[in-house]
């Protein structure tokens, strides 16, 4: 029983990170129908920027994270403006390939600037806490709480503000949105900004419990794709639920099935789902 609870907690931690990454991915997909393969690279950059702010300028963890959100968010905007906007009318093949090009570039760029080695980010919340036989560090608690807070804020933004509702409107119908006078370009840039920001938050939160290195985005991005397919591409609740499902299935799968094969489990799950339902579990629209 005790181990089950501990593992559920572990799953919750890792699921929170997955959800945040998947959210950014699904937002962009929902609005622009781009599977942004470069999203993992944005995640990685977020980690590096936070780390650099902390080590080079001795900035406080939270401020470093804030800078990282802004920088990666702006990078997302640049990508939208100078790459994906130019490809909006192109065949669907093209933006996928452009995204792969960006991914390769950003990874080489990170290695160029920060080197290939592993870095650690020391957060101020390294303390170990023991409650009712449950062991965790404050950082892990922080991940869970912050992720939920970010999701709630995002929800409020999308539902309660005018700008947010334009995003929702556009994800439902791009033509419709432009008919009612929504500036599509603005919304697209905004979406990329939020998406990049979410990636930066996720990596800044997760880095202290892991390592920062050029390939760190790979680990997360493939799983994020699995998640958004699980949850229906473009679906926001789907990304959140999917993230936690994958987090739990990994921690429980490693405990009760096999640690060696738990990665394959996620991908096989995906293949089965798409086999049965080619457009994903909670697909919306008829596309």
């Amino acid at each position: 029983m005790e181990i089950l609870i501990q593992q559920l907690f572990n799953g919750l931690t890792i699921g929170s990170v997955y959800s945040l990454v998947a959210l950014g991915l699904t937002l962009v997909y929902g609005i622009l129908h781009i599977p942004n393969f470069a999203h993992g690279a944005l995640y990685m950059l977020g980690g590096y920027i936070t780390l650099s702010m902390m080590t080079l300028y001795g900035v406080n963890y939270w401020i470093a994270m804030f800078v990282s959100i802004i920088v990666v968010g702006l990078l997302g905007v640049l990508l939208e403006r100078f790459v994906f906007r130019l490809l909006r009318e192109a065949p669907p093949l093209h933006d996928k390939i452009a995204a792969i090009g960006i991914l390769l570039f950003l990874e080489a760029f990170a290695q160029f600037v920060w080197g290939a080695d592993f870095h650690t980010m020391t957060s101020p919340y390294g303390q170990v806490v023991n409650i009712l036989g449950l062991t965790f560090t404050l950082q892990r608690l922080l991940i869970i709480v912050s992720a939920i807070a970010v999701m709630v804020l995002l929800y409020l933004f999308l539902k309660k503000t005018y700008t947010g509702s334009t995003i929702i409107a556009m994800s439902q119908s791009r033509e419709g949105a432009s008919l009612v006078g929504i500036n599509i370009n603005k919304v697209a840039m905004l979406t990329f900004m939020i998406s990049g920001g979410l990636a930066a938050i996720a990596s800044s939160l997760a880095s202290p419990i892991n390592l920062v290195f050029p390939g760190m985005g790979h680990l997360v991005i493939l799983k994020a794709f699995v998640i958004i397919i699980l949850g229906g591409m473009g679906s926001i609740p789907g990304a959140i639920v999917g993230g936690y499902i994958l987090g739990f299935s990994e921690s429980l799968g490693a405990t009760y099935i096999s640690n060696d094969y738990k990665d394959i489990i996620a991908f096989i799950l995906l293949v089965i789902i798409l086999t049965v339902k080619p457009t994903g579990l909670f697909a919306k629209g008829e596309r």
Binding site: Q7, T13, A116, F118, T135, T137, F213, V220, D260
Partner: protein, 393 residues
């Protein structure tokens, strides 16, 4: 649109020009006189200089490079009455065996290298397909047994066989902590081989294996889950290992989860590289692993460390040191063989090469080379006691 076209053409031109300039020049070259002059011996290196393993590749290269620079700065070396200098030619193989193969072909064709260093087993195996035919020695930095078991006559395996570590590691951990072990090694082939060697020995000594599962450091995003599962079995000792940094993370998280016992750290991970990740040696208290070069009590070490730190702004690791000493051994073997290009003769005189290594270079004690071409080093292990690494003999 027009402007962009111009830009694109410009980009292409730049690349072409870069390519053109580079023709005939060595692709990457360290110090020493370049070119194919009569008295220059080209030494080849093919290893990962980009991608995830780049750091590791760079360190192995640094070791060779430092030896080459030292030898050239001292005016080269004399073989059969002629003075030679060394020229190191390094190529990136991205850790991919086929790239190692291509690089080797290139090194032989364009640089006529009698020795090619490569720091990964895949690359070594790919080279063994044709190294006897093309007559060059592989300076194999890998402790993968298959590399020397295949009976290739021109392979020199630089690092010590890991089997020598098993006995001292087991004895130390059992004496200090207890008989229950949980294994959490890296999922690489190397990690698995290690596990298969160490666990049976542990059981033979009366120990008990309570948990055994590998971690894939390239795919795992959080180790908490698996460490939780391992600690549930209440082990006295954890067997961990793989790349230093993630291994340190595993150790640290085990401590966070309340583990009080000792660690056996397989030789791929280096205590000194683990320290910054773990925070301090306190976290790693009770670990036993390879003695970091920094903490070695060989007489040549302090001078070597100082020189390396000056040149490369970091602490030397064992892959630096072993490749460094191997380069010296090769040069000494060339001297004894009386030839700088006859690979067979050089290989034949490797024993002399090892014996003739000067006292200033002797940062490791490698008395012999076995018949399969493996360096048989005197194994010295290190343990963390009271926040410090101490050599255990």
């Amino acid at each position: 649109m027009k402007k962009l076209k111009v830009l694109f053409v410009f980009l292409l031109l730049t690349i072409t020009v870069l390519t053109g300039c580079n023709k005939g020049d060595s692709p990457v070259s360290s110090s020493g006189s370049k070119g194919k002059g009569e008295n220059v011996v080209n030494i080849g290196f093919s290893g990962p200089l980009s991608g995830a393993a780049a750091l590791y590749g760079k360190r192995t290269l640094n070791g060779v490079e430092m030896a080459v620079n030292e030898i050239n700065d001292a005016g080269g070396f004399e073989v059969d009455g002629k003075k030679y200098t060394l020229n190191l030619v390094s190529l990136d193989d991205k850790y991919l065996p086929n790239e190692t193969g291509s690089n080797a072909k290139r090194l032989i064709q364009e640089y006529d290298t009698p020795i090619i260093f490569t720091p990964h087993s895949g690359g070594v195996l790919a080279l063994q397909v044709f190294n006897e035919q093309e007559e060059f020695i592989i300076g194999a930095y890998t402790s993968e047994p298959a590399v020397t078991e295949s009976g290739n006559s021109l392979t020199v395996r630089i690092p010590p066989n890991y089997e020598g570590y098993i006995e001292p590691f087991t004895t130390y951990a059992m004496e200090h902590f207890g008989k229950k072990i949980a294994a959490l090694p890296t999922s690489s082939q190397y990690g698995k081989d290690w596990t298969e060697a160490v666990l049976p020995h542990w059981e033979k000594q009366g120990g008990k294996v309570v948990y055994n599962s590998s971690i894939d450091f390239a795919k795992e995003t959080d180790f908490f889950t698996i460490v939780t599962n391992a600690l549930k079995k209440d082990p006295d000792v954890l067997f961990i290992g793989g790349a230093s940094e993630p291994t340190a993370k595993v150790a640290k998280q085990a401590r966070e989860l309340g583990f009080k016992g000792g660690f056996i750290i397989m030789d791929q991970a280096k205590l000194d590289q683990m320290k910054p990740i773990a925070g301090s040696y306190e976290t790693l208290e009770g670990s036993i692993g390879v003695l970091p070069l920094m903490d070695s009590d060989e007489e040549a070490v302090p001078a070597f460390v100082e020189k390396y730190q000056k040149n490369y702004k970091e602490d030397p690791s064992s892959e630096v040191g072993l490749n460094y000493i191997a380069m010296y051994a090769f040069v000494e073997a060339m001297k004894s063989a009386g030839s700088v290009d006859d690979a067979k003769a050089i290989r034949k005189h490797m024993q002399d090469g090892l014996s003739n290594i000067g006292p200033d270079q002797k940062i490791y004690d490698i008395p012999t080379i076995d018949e399969n071409g493996g360096f048989a080093s005197t194994i010295v292990v290190g343990a963390v006691e009271n926040g410090k690494v101490v050599p255990i003999r």
